[in-house]
């Protein structure tokens, strides 16, 4: 892994250069919160706020995706939209959000030979180069360390920037990252050992600053045994059934397909959906296998902490804390898992 440094004042220059060669996406403040948007001017990039409100999953698994369009009548035609496959650089993504991609990759890109590969997700994923930014000051509800992750984890990004005072410590992790660096003018310098130590120190401080912890040990086995437990009725009692926790989750990936059409033209779109809605499981027959909020809240917890580990060997949670931050009724996933531990089966 190549280790470089970049003086902070050179960052706009770097972003400007990336922006002139490729499509550049970065965090931008909008209406009081952070969002990943196309960056035209490096000054727009905001690195002070920790997490974007809507996770960057929306860049790859778009909220609205047109799968195909069609015309009606005798000469009807079906057309699939073309996806841009040129390189796109996503700058400033946090390690936990980047990990979110790795968690949902098997869903859209398949795990083994013969699995269906979703072209929309896969093409966007392959065209994206992730330049991560480690978190020096984790927020109240950050708990990524509970999943063997770290605020400066290099595993899930192509290049990782770490703020070490007046410089960024740059780690080039993948080949994709190396190619990108090669393409850019030589504004990086080789990192010294001292700088490497500062980076390690910074990571350590950040890890220590994380105050919340989820004890995930034995969760899968415990959940195996308590599907029908009345605990879920109480856990879901205060849930109002809004979709915030799922829409803002970097690993939630449920979608709905809809045909939208006029008399002559139409299109099939894929839009985000949420298991917290009653109509999500509503059958055409009128039957609903998850009729009450208890079933729906339980499903969310099970999917993340039981089905995911069983299917993919990984928890479906990155510890970003968004669902805790924005839940209007303070349903705290850490507390829910803690209480699961206390339940007598």
């Amino acid at each position: 892994m190549e280790q470089l440094t970049l003086p902070k004042e050179k960052l706009p220059e770097l972003l400007g250069e990336i922006g002139s060669k490729f499509e550049l996406i970065g965090p931008k403040e909008e209406n009081g919160f952070l969002a990943f948007r196309k960056i035209n001017d490096p000054k727009e990039v905001n690195l002070d706020i920790l997490l974007s409100r809507v996770p960057p999953k929306s860049l790859i698994f778009q909220q609205t995706e047109t799968l195909f369009t069609y015309t009606k009548g005798k000469d009807s035609k079906v057309q699939t939209p073309k996806i841009d496959e040129s390189v796109r650089v996503i700058f400033g993504i946090r390690p936990c959000d980047a990990r979110g991609y790795d968690i949902i990759d098997p869903v859209f890109m398949g795990k083994k030979e013969g699995d269906y590969i979703d072209p929309f997700y896969t093409k966007r994923r392959n065209r994206s180069i992730l330049i991560g930014l480690s978190c020096n000051e984790p927020d109240t509800n950050c708990f990524c360390t509970s999943f063997d992750d770290s605020p400066a984890n290099t595993k899930h990004v192509d290049i990782l920037f770490t703020d070490i005072g007046d410089k960024y410590f740059v780690e080039v992790v993948t080949e994709k990252g190396e190619d990108l660096i090669k393409n850019l003018s030589k504004i990086f310098s080789k990192a010294t050992e001292k700088e490497g130590n500062i980076r390690k120190e910074t990571e350590k401080t950040a890890i220590e600053a994380i105050s919340r912890k989820m004890n995930t040990e034995g969760t899968v086995e415990k959940l195996n045994k308590m599907f029908d437990h009345e605990f879920w009725i109480e856990a879901a009692r205060s849930c109002i059934g809004c979709g915030i926790c799922t829409y803002l989750c970097p690993t939630c990936h449920c979608f709905d397909m809809q045909d939208e059409s006029t008399l002559k033209l139409g299109g099939r779109v894929r839009v985000w959906d949420s298991c917290m809605y009653e109509e999500y499981t509503h059958h055409a027959s009128g039957h609903n296998p998850r009729p009450s909020r208890m079933n729906r809240v339980r499903n969310r917890v099970y999917h993340k902490f039981n089905y995911f580990p069983k299917n993919d060997g990984i928890f479906g949670c990155t510890g970003c804390g968004r669902c805790i931050d924005y839940c209007p009724v303070n349903i705290d996933i850490i507390e829910v898992i803690d209480k699961v531990k206390e339940v007598n089966v």
């Binding site: 047109t66 369009t69 939208e260 059409s261 006029t262 033209l265 139409g266 299109g267």
Partner: protein, 149 residues
Amino acid sequence: MSTQKKTELEEFEPNIIGFLCNWCSYAGADLAGTSRIQYPPNVKIIKVMCSGRVNPMYIINAFQQGADGVLVSGCHPGDCHYTHGNYLARRRIATMKKLLEFLGIEPDRVRMTWVSAAEGRKYADVVREVTEDIKKLGPMTKFRREKEW
């Protein structure tokens, strides 16, 4: 530039959706036709049983699908075939008009009138006025659907 803009405006033929009640306004429009009164062809009529049947969401939907203006027309107060449907419509459209104005949609794009079955001439006048008004405002693209479908 200004002359070019002017010609563009002159060429702009607005697309107006008219929700006319079956008992008065539609009959009024019919009368305007049988009396051979000339009026602009921009208003596309959708006949509804009563102006009270016009869900204010129809207006929003019309704008989404490419309308530049909406006309809602019913019986004069007191004349409603269903005794008070037009009174209800009046409250609803008044509220919706205010709301749209607050959002930044020109209030003139939504027009409500009372036209009775005997007022063919008034209907023609209304259509002429509405068309003129909306021609002046230009196309309504603020929240039109971007997709063709």
